[in-house]
């Protein structure tokens, strides 16, 4: 009986793993199959020469270039707002907060993590309306409002992964530098944080993915169908997930739908590029921590 149960557990685990892997691969293959046809420089740059488009000399009307730029700007903006706050909060909770404060904050951040993105989007929209009414009528839903709202959305991931990465370090490694006369801050900077980099980067990757794919928040806070490359963070912008959403609900010709698949593929590649960037930065930081004289 006991043996049968054990074997069943193993089988079950294997099946779950296989199904998940198969699911990931079928999505990828499906996208490649459907989108590869549209995957062409023309998809991104339309009829404009790529060089002129990248140098912003000529505006791209019938390509995804503005959406790619918009998504990249949005991700960088929201991640750079969320990272310092998230890291600092995670470090505080893991290393400095006392028992009761920690419990209270953990609860609050769990609630924050559970807020649906559409609600965060609504809040961002309300903020834009409030600022428009009470401060300056030139304020409108824009890249900055979206960036702030998205940062708010991904903060719990970054906080939690940072906190867990630090808390899971062994007591031995925690005490080593302290026993050698390091201050608490030195211990954190020279030993604990370098040791937690892998965990912290996984939070960053989660955050990047979330910012790149979220549609609900940006729909309400500044994304539009045709805005071109945004001139500043106070301007509306285009984004890939919104384009995918828009085209899949409004397409009129098979070519348009194909462009939608192409855009989905492009979004995946963009995420892959951002993940790779995060990994390179992590490697570089570990190298520095290791060999810094």
């Amino acid at each position: 009986m006991k043996q049968a149960g054990e074997r069943l557990t193993i089988w079950y685990s294997w099946t779950c793993g296989l199904i998940l892997t198969a699911a990931v691969f079928s999505i990828l293959v499906y996208l490649l199959f459907k989108g590869a046809g549209a995957f062409h420089p023309k998809l991104i740059f339309g009829d404009v020469s790529p060089l002129k488009a990248v140098l912003l000399q000529q505006r791209v009307f019938d390509g995804l270039f503005p959406a790619v730029v918009g998504t990249l700007m949005l991700v960088s903006l929201s991640v750079s707002i969320a990272l310092p706050i998230g890291f600092a909060t995670g470090i505080y909770l893991a290393e400095y907060a006392d028992f009761r404060i920690k419990n209270a904050f953990n609860l609050i951040f769990d609630i924050l993590a559970g807020i649906p993105s559409i609600v965060v989007g609504l809040f961002g929209f309300a903020l834009a309306v409030f600022l428009h009414k009470h401060y300056s009528s030139s304020i409108q839903p824009c890249l900055l409002i979206s960036g702030l709202a998205l940062a708010f959305l991904v903060l719990p991931y970054i906080i939690r992964t940072t906190q867990i990465a630090l808390e899971s370090l062994s007591p031995e490694i925690r005490l080593t530098a302290l026993a050698l006369g390091a201050t608490k801050l030195q211990n954190l900077v020279y030993v604990l944080l370098p040791q937690s980099l892998t965990g912290m980067i996984s939070g960053v990757i989660l955050a990047i993915g979330r910012c790149a794919e979220d549609t609900a928040v940006i729909m309400l806070t500044g994304v539009v169908v045709a805005a071109g490359v945004p001139k500043s963070v106070f301007a509306p912008y285009e984004a890939l997930p919104f384009y995918i959403y828009y085209i899949s609900s409004q397409y009129t010709t098979p070519e348009e739908l194909m462009n939608g698949y192409g855009a989905a593929l492009l979004l995946l590649l963009l995420c892959l590029f951002l993940f790779a960037l995060a990994f390179v930065i992590k490697k570089r930081l570990s190298y520095l921590a290791f060999y810094r004289p």
Binding site: A177, A179, A182, V191, R292
Partner: protein, 237 residues
């Protein structure tokens, strides 16, 4: 205070009690340790030997739910200091009272950076001076010849015995006056143990050493004095 104590007393512990989660680990310890001597702390596991060591460098303050009462005085730089006094910075204490743990704990850095680490934490910036000190301490720990050509290698790639000598070198690089060792040879083979025991006898010239040990033959070989713990109290010394 007892005025008949000889002048060479290095560490004075009085009425020390230690609690972990309301459980009493050490009770009413009063004990003294002489300068330039090796004292072996023996006794069954759980008797409080390791805990006693970390009351001498205040490392227990970094453990949650621990509590202590009593007085610890150590003569550092010729002055008798109450190490729990607010005015005495804990980092300075730990720079003068070094500690070596049961399992070698090299930091995830190169060999050089491991030994230079305490110097850097103490604010050292002179690279040349740091290199000189690292070399000198590695020689003292009988490790220099084995590592001098690969100072930039990962310290965790060294053998267990080498790692432990590295940790001893690291604890010595700030020239402490007291060295606390928690079963420093328990994870090592007999050859590595022999090297470290020889090292201890050599270090006694400059240092006051307290070593927790489970091995009676080791105690006989190196210790000037034996303090025996049982259930958080000293039963003989």
């Amino acid at each position: 205070m007892n005025t008949t104590l000889p002048d060479n007393t290095k560490i004075r512990v009085a009425d020390l009690n230690f609690f972990y989660r309301e459980r009493r680990i050490l009770q009413d310890l009063t004990v003294h340790f002489a300068e330039h001597s090796i004292t072996a702390l023996i006794g069954p596991s759980g008797a409080g030997k390791s805990t006693f060591l970390i009351t001498l460098n205040r490392l227990w303050e970094n453990l949650p739910e621990a509590r202590m009462s009593g007085k610890v005085e150590i003569t550092l730089g010729g002055l008798r200091r109450d190490i729990y006094q607010e005015a005495f910075p804990v980092t300075e204490l730990r720079r003068r009272v070094g500690m070596v743990f049961q399992t070698p704990n090299p930091l995830p850095m190169s060999i050089y950076k491991n030994v230079a680490f305490p110097l850097k934490m103490a604010g050292g910036t002179d690279q040349k001076e740091m290199r000189r000190k690292v070399e000198q301490t590695l020689k003292m720990a009988y490790l220099w010849e084995e590592v001098k050509d690969r100072m930039n290698d990962d310290a965790r790639k060294l053998s267990g015995g080498q790692q432990q000598r590295l940790c001893i070198a690291r604890a010595l690089v700030l020239e402490p006056e007291v060295l606390l060792m928690d079963e420093p040879t328990s994870s090592l083979d007999s050859t590595a143990t022999e090297v470290i025991e020889g090292l201890l006898l050599e270090l006694r010239k400059h240092l006051t050493i307290l070593v927790v040990s489970h091995y009676l033959d080791q105690v006989k070989r190196v210790a000037d004095r034996v303090v025996s713990f049982e259930e958080g109290a000293i039963v003989s010394s």
